[in-house]
């Protein structure tokens, strides 16, 4: 999972699961989306990135699973430049959940979840067991849902299948692009709670992008704010909430109230890198 290295520095300082080093990216004929952008995400932590529509949030995720390559700078996944990764191998180590889910309409729920395990050549009974386990994990009883078709599900159920599918081969990294954007507030709150429950179990390195400050605060161990291709804030939620940066304030003031997570950690478990590392044993949530 982590770069095998005898380097003493590396053992002292954990290699970030995902790192953006001075990344710039532009689509031809359009303003630059990312401009000398740097960021790192520690293993097992969830980073929520918030920004206006068109701020380059989706682009950022696609640079991680190599759907896009940076113009300059480098994106490192598990310490390795995405240019050096074999794209297929990289993508199977990076789960991806999209706003419109992209479930395959010609496959049943169970078969949708089983896609990547089958691509990886798992034995049929292992695939079946894993599918069963994942549907349980995302709160869709397999007896009831395994044989259903995507068009028979509600939006929330589809999102749950999308999450199960992204987790199928237990990838260390999970990318979520506006995963709960199209849902009604109640379903959304329910899925936020589910997210924390699942994350307690699987402890992935997660990047969630959203245009909703409230959602960012609800889901991220850290919250980053994107504006015009730059990161103008990135810290633990309560520190970002106290920021005096005018643009951050502007976004925060647009919120009626910042919902407090019930599980907001009282003790500082996670500080800005490299002060600590969030290993799987780290008690992020009490």
């Amino acid at each position: 999972m982590r770069r095998a290295s005898g380097d003493t520095v590396a053992t002292l300082m954990p290699v970030p699961a995902i790192e953006f080093r001075d990344v710039s990216f532009a689509r031809p004929g359009r303003p630059r989306i990312l401009d000398h952008f740097s960021l790192s995400v520690d293993p097992g932590t969830a980073l929520a990135l918030v920004g206006r529509s068109g701020a380059g949030k989706s682009t950022l995720l696609k640079l991680v699973n190599r759907l896009l390559l940076p113009e300059s700078g480098a994106v490192l996944v598990e310490g390795r430049d995405t240019r050096e990764w074999e794209p297929i191998r990289l993508r199977r180590r990076v789960g991806y959940v999209m706003q419109d889910v992209g479930l395959f309409p010609h496959l049943s729920v169970a078969d949708n979840v089983a896609v990547v395990p089958r691509l990886e050549g798992w034995a049929p009974d292992r695939v079946a067991a894993r599918t069963h386990e994942l549907l349980e994990l995302v709160g869709l009883p397999p007896q009831q849902f395994a044989t259903r078709w995507p068009d028979e599900l509600s939006g929330g159920q589809r999102q749950r299948v999308g999450v199960a599918r992204a987790l199928a081969v237990d990838p260390p990294v999970l990318l979520m692009d506006e995963p709960f954007g199209a849902l009604d507030p109640l379903t959304r709150a329910e899925l936020h709670a589910e997210f924390h429950r699942i994350q307690r179990h699987v402890r992935k390195t997660v990047i969630i992008v959203t245009h909703d400050m409230g959602e960012a605060f609800a889901l991220g161990d850290r919250v980053g704010v994107l504006d015009e291709g730059r990161l103008i804030a990135c810290d633990r939620p309560h520190i970002v909430a106290a920021s005096r940066e005018p643009l951050v304030r502007q976004l925060l003031d647009a919120l009626p109230a910042i919902p407090r997570r019930p599980s907001e950690p009282s003790e500082v478990v996670q500080t800005f890198r490299p002060a600590a590392h969030g290993g799987p044993e780290g008690p992020q949530y009490s």
């Binding site: 759907l67 297929i88 991806y96 999209m98 419109d100 010609h106 078709w149």
Partner: protein, 508 residues
């Protein structure tokens, strides 16, 4: 209606075999079109720059009339010639366009997020194609297959013109006998077949669109099984046919009778015969023989001289026969001795006109030509020994250019008063049947048209018994015999097989 059923019942074995050939042509060509069209469609959907020229080419192919397409393919080695092979090539070419088009549409219609999900999950392009894109495009592709198959059922009827068999045989035979019953005997089952094909593929399309994978898989499995059976049986059928002698004929009654006569004669010598009668004309028969698609057919010496070998017209029957025999020999073919009758062009007028105007020779007709409309077959208008030379020789001057029409229909047109003079065959049964009068060629314009079998020399060497049997026909068929048989077929609507059987029994 009752005549139609009677025809089907009396020809049930032949009907079944023609229907079988028709289904086979359509199935094999449709599967081949899928095998070519789907990959092309995938390629075009992947590379948009390729799509436009590909669509242009396939669309142009689609606009070529099928008969013209058969004509283009005749001289092409391997894929051309006459028979089922060339017909399959044409049907496949026609089938590709709709399949390419719907494959592209089906692939392009897939939601971008589904595509992106597949890529992001780490699918290779091949995995994405087989597991996501093709299954989702399948209903659209099947819609294209449906169009291709229905078009195929229609085009396959035309394939009878190049001897591919199928229900078109009845249509062509009916057209040349001017017998609606026979036309319907082919057209009705062809239409029914088109409806069945359309309906069953529409059903499959709906099953697939219903997105019930288990059921659609079962349907696809059934379809694949049917395809395998059809392909296997076609291979078996092709095996069984090889080794037989292929008898050809052109597409008018006398030629059908003569083709049947050759076939039965060879069969009596104990050799299996494959009939490929009703081929589209002199040139098709000639090319078919050069490519080895047919082994023997009956040609007329004057026609061979002018139309096949492009030699100047000559009126000496013996000299013409010798010239033609030498020319055939140079191209690996043997002209057998004449059958005994001369089927010259007959310039025909209505019997009533001949009697009231006192017409006896073509010279007499030239006097009247200023008031007359003429109707000629396609060949007569084109041939060097045809209309142009005739008009010069006799000074014919019609007020308007001759109407060009199907040879057989021209007899009816004359009898019905739509035209006043036609060029028919001297031995046509309809001359008597429709009370027409043949005008004498007093200036000996027309070269001799002695009927004689021409065969591939190689075949005769391999089957000396066939040569002996065919030589036995020499001189046995008088003009009166020929006219009587044509009359029996065209006017009395008797079955040609039976007519020939009776003739052979009588003259044994």
């Amino acid at each position: 209606m009752s005549r139609l059923f009677a025809f089907w019942i009396s020809h049930r074995a032949e009907l079944a075999s023609l229907l079988g050939q028709h289904v086979l042509l359509v199935c094999v060509s449709t599967f081949a079109a899928v095998a070519i069209g789907v990959p092309l469609g995938v390629l075009a959907a992947r590379r948009p720059r390729l799509a436009a020229p590909l669509m242009a080419v396939t669309s142009v192919v689609q606009t070529i009339p099928s008969l013209a397409m058969f004509g283009f393919l005749l001289p092409v080695p391997l894929v051309g010639g006459v028979g089922a092979r060339a017909a399959l090539v044409v049907l496949i070419l026609y089938g590709i366009l709709p399949i390419v088009r719907t494959t592209i549409a089906g692939l392009r219609g897939i939601d971008a997020s589904i595509h992106e999900a597949g890529v992001a999950m780490g699918m290779t392009p091949r995995e994405l194609l087989w597991q996501v894109e093709l299954p989702l495009a399948l209903p659209s592709i099947v819609a294209g297959v449906r169009v291709a198959a229905v078009v195929g059922v229609g085009s396959a009827t035309i394939a009878a013109a190049i001897g591919a068999g199928g229900l078109g045989e009845y249509i062509y035979r009916g057209l040349s006998m001017v017998d609606t019953t026979v036309i319907l005997a082919g057209a009705v089952p062809a239409a029914a077949l088109a409806l069945v094909v359309d309906g069953s593929l529409l059903w499959l399309e709906k099953q697939l669109t219903a997105r019930r994978r288990s059921r659609s898989r079962r349907a696809a499995t059934v379809a694949a099984a049917v395809a395998c059976i059809v392909l296997l049986s076609s291979v078996v059928a092709a095996r069984r046919e090889s080794g037989a002698i292929v008898v050809g004929s052109k597409n008018f009654t006398e030629q059908l009778v003569l083709g049947e006569l050759l076939a039965q004669t060879i069969e009596r010598a104990g050799v299996t015969v494959n009939r490929r009668l009703n081929l589209g004309g002199t040139l098709i028969c000639d090319r078919a023989m050069l490519t080895g698609d047919i082994d023997v057919y009956v040609e007329y010496t004057g026609t061979a001289l002018t139309a096949v070998f492009h030699q100047p017209v000559s009126t000496d029957a013996g000299a013409v026969f010798d010239t033609v025999r030498t020319l055939y020999a140079k191209t690996g073919r043997t002209l057998l001795p004449p059958l005994g009758f001369n089927n010259t062009f007959a310039i025909l007028v209505r019997g009533a006109d001949a009697r009231s105007l006192g017409l006896r020779t073509i010279d007499d007709a030239a006097r009247e030509s200023g008031r007359w409309r003429a109707g000629f077959g396609y060949e007569f208008v084109e041939r060097p020994d045809g209309y142009e030379g005739l008009a010069k020789a006799y000074g014919l001057r019609f007020p308007e250019p001759p109407r060009v029409m199907d040879l057989t229909l021209s007899y009816r047109a004359l009898a019905a008063g739509q035209v006043d003079i036609i060029a028919g065959d001297a031995t046509a049964g309809l001359i008597k049947g429709l009370d027409l009068t043949q005008l004498e060629d007093s200036r000996h314009y027309f070269p001799p048209y002695d009927a004689a079998a021409v065969a591939r020399a190689e075949t005769l060497l391999r089957h000396p018994e066939v040569r002996a049997a065919l030589e036995g026909l020499s001189g046995r068929l008088t003009a009166a015999d020929m006219r009587a048989m044509n009359y029996a077929a065209d006017v009395e609507h008797r079955d040609i097989t039976q007519i020939v059987r009776d003739f052979l029994a009588r003259t044994r």
